[in-house]
């Protein structure tokens, strides 16, 4: 069972992702509402996969991605982006994000992406 950390400042999005993951036999080990919390949760929980929102307060998804990759170059991080954030997505891929999900996402898109990374 893959262990996932969900990072999103919107509780709604966290719930939406969690609902999908739980249904498809992923284990959601933690949630974080900003990049800073994500980083500490990552260190604490060592999840297999991280879903990372891009636009967040305190520490953005891109910053958190870099920070997590700095401590664990093997970290598997999937960005959660909105339409129109191509630049950010590219920046994220360049910095080692494994893939990305585009909001509004479909259930099978999330599952497929997380299964593949």
């Amino acid at each position: 069972m893959k262990r996932v950390l969900i990072v999103d400042d919107a509780a709604f999005m966290r719930m939406a992702i969690r609902n999908i993951l739980v249904k498809h036999d992923f284990e959601v080990v933690a949630e974080a509402e900003n990049g800073a919390v994500a980083l500490s949760k990552y260190i604490e929980m060592k999840p297999d996969i991280v879903t990372m929102d891009i636009t967040m307060p305190e520490m953005t998804g891109l910053e958190a991605l870099k920070a997590i990759r700095a401590i664990d170059p093997e970290a598997k991080i999937v960005m959660v982006s909105a339409m129109g954030q191509e630049q950010m997505v590219m920046e994220a891929i360049t910095n080692g994000a494994k893939s990305f999900i585009v909001k509004p996402f479909k259930e099978d898109h999330v599952v497929q992406t997380l299964n593949r990374v």
Binding site: A11, T55, M59, S81, M90
Partner: protein
Amino acid sequence: MSNQFTNEPLLDMFLFETSQLLEQLEQAIISSEKESDFSDEAINLIFRIMHTIKGSASMMLFDNIARLAHSIEDLFFYIRKEKPSNMDCSSLSDLILEGVDFIKVEVDKIKDNLQADGNANSLIQMIIDHLAQLKQNNQPVSLAITMEDELPLQPKKQQYYIRQVVTQEVEHTNVYKAIIHFEEDCEMENMRAYTVIHNLKDISNEVTYIPANIIDSDESVSIIRRDGFQVVVRTELSTEKMYEFFSQTIFLKDLEFFQLESDYEMNESIVESVKPPFIKESNASIILEAIKETTDHIVHKEHTDRTEKEVIPSNVAQSIISVSVPKLDKLMDLVGEMVIAEAMVIENPDLKGIQLVNFKKAARQLNKITTEIQDMVMSIRMVPLSATFVKMHRVLRDMSKKLEREVTLDIIGEETEVDKNIIEHISDPLMHLVRNSIDHGIESPEERVAAGKSRAGTIILEAKNAGSDVVIIVRDDGKGLNKAKILKKASENDLLYKNEEDMTEKEIFNLILLPGFSTKEAVTEFSGRGVGMDVVRKNIEAVGGTLSVDSIEGRGTVITLKIPLTLAIIDGMNIKVGKSRYTIPTIAIKESFRPKNEDIIQDPDGNEMIMVRGKCYLVKRLHELFKVSTEIKKFSEGIMLMIEQDDQTVCVFADALLGQQQVVVKALPQYIQNFKKMLGLAGCTLLGDGSISLIIDVARLVH
């Protein structure tokens, strides 16, 4: 149990979060408007909130909300990026607040199970126009960037080539070509292609692909969708490895894979490799800027937050969960039932007169635990008034803007907590009171200066705990109530119930609470609406609260609301009249005593009074009031309860006291309420022996 609580929790979450974000947004806008400047922090916040709402709304398929949020997000993206110097804060605030209102209305519709069918097109257009206007006003700065933006970088080239510094020995390498077709609705195909290229970097030094300019989203996305993404790669890896690599592409629908001749000419149009190769310069700098900005922000933020955060363990946020209100209501109901059941067991008639030492011990333990559970459930339901109070800023802003008043709002004690259900009932009345204060109370700046006051009026909203009540005070320093005007108006509307001369100041002020009273000649947009103070009073009384008015002409008005902390469970004194049982909230009872016959006096109208320590109190016989037959009619045989509310005191005569008990307030059944106007009864409750007791509405009794 039923699964009514599991239905669409996601929708609940959407509604909850969106409402919260809108509140936050509103506050940010109003405080920015006050300072006539949108700080970087505020702009970031607004941008982020709109971004979140857009995302959630589009997930829930509320298209109109998503589109509107998107347009505001775009607007603030521009503002954040360009920092236009000459923004019109006021009109921008108006526009965004209008957007907030639109989304609020839609959210309310969704809450009421209606279609969120509002049309935001004109509003979106206004926002787009505003953005265009803003761009035009900031021409000199933005022009350069737009031109740069539109300047195509190597426009017609269809291939791209990456060459690392290391030179390759061509003989040992293979060349493969792959055509990748992505799934139809996977979105951002160009970024998916970019991911492939990025991953290829680790295993190959030479890659060409079509379309080359994959970052230029519109064009490249449509090419990839139509023709697939074509990659030619030179690598040392085997065919199997490369095939495996490509087939692991996420959202792969179709893969065409070929091995080409190893001397295949990849460098038909070789370009020096740049890293990362396909960002347009201008875009890159924007990204960097954005990142720098957020980093600055973080550094700043972290610095200020550090001191508090160090004390708190990192998983504090996780220890809080949100629970749906219906669940809490149900829990409260259940606890209520438990309290009744407990009383039924412990005070069971079958146990009367039996020596039960161990039972009593166990019962005491049970009682202790149920009391604790009850307190805990109660405290869970408690919500601070701050959210309700903060809403008043918006009321104030809109009204003072329209009526051209200068008003400041001071909030005191917003951390005071009340039951969730009660908060919902007092929000509207409170809003009405604040409106009234601005509309009827606070004068125009000129009038105020002429009267020797400061230009800006002040409204103070204060909350504090007082025993089992919460007191909310709305105080303004406006022109106060004019007694003569009130009396005139009241007599015109036939509302005077006694001689003008006999009325105390308080009674005159209370006239404005009567239905059909309104001193303002012209009905204004705000205070009018056909809703008067009588409705406010009715709403407050509906939750067992009281309202009192005080005023000094020329100095201002004070309206005091007294609201019970909770509705559900009260400490009650059970009393008996004939065969009926009644409960009086203990808090209202000052004392109980057995009167002597000679203490009773009668006034000329035949009203009975009782003299207690030199003071006279009106006596109300419950058996007469509720028309119950009883044997006990002599004062010396029954019991007298002195009851006080709002500085008014009466003595109530009943047959006997039954004892004190926590009772669970139940509304009277609808058919009884319909059948007869139940004056003086606040509800009913179940007693330990299974009998029903009627809860006396003390406020009605004393008036």
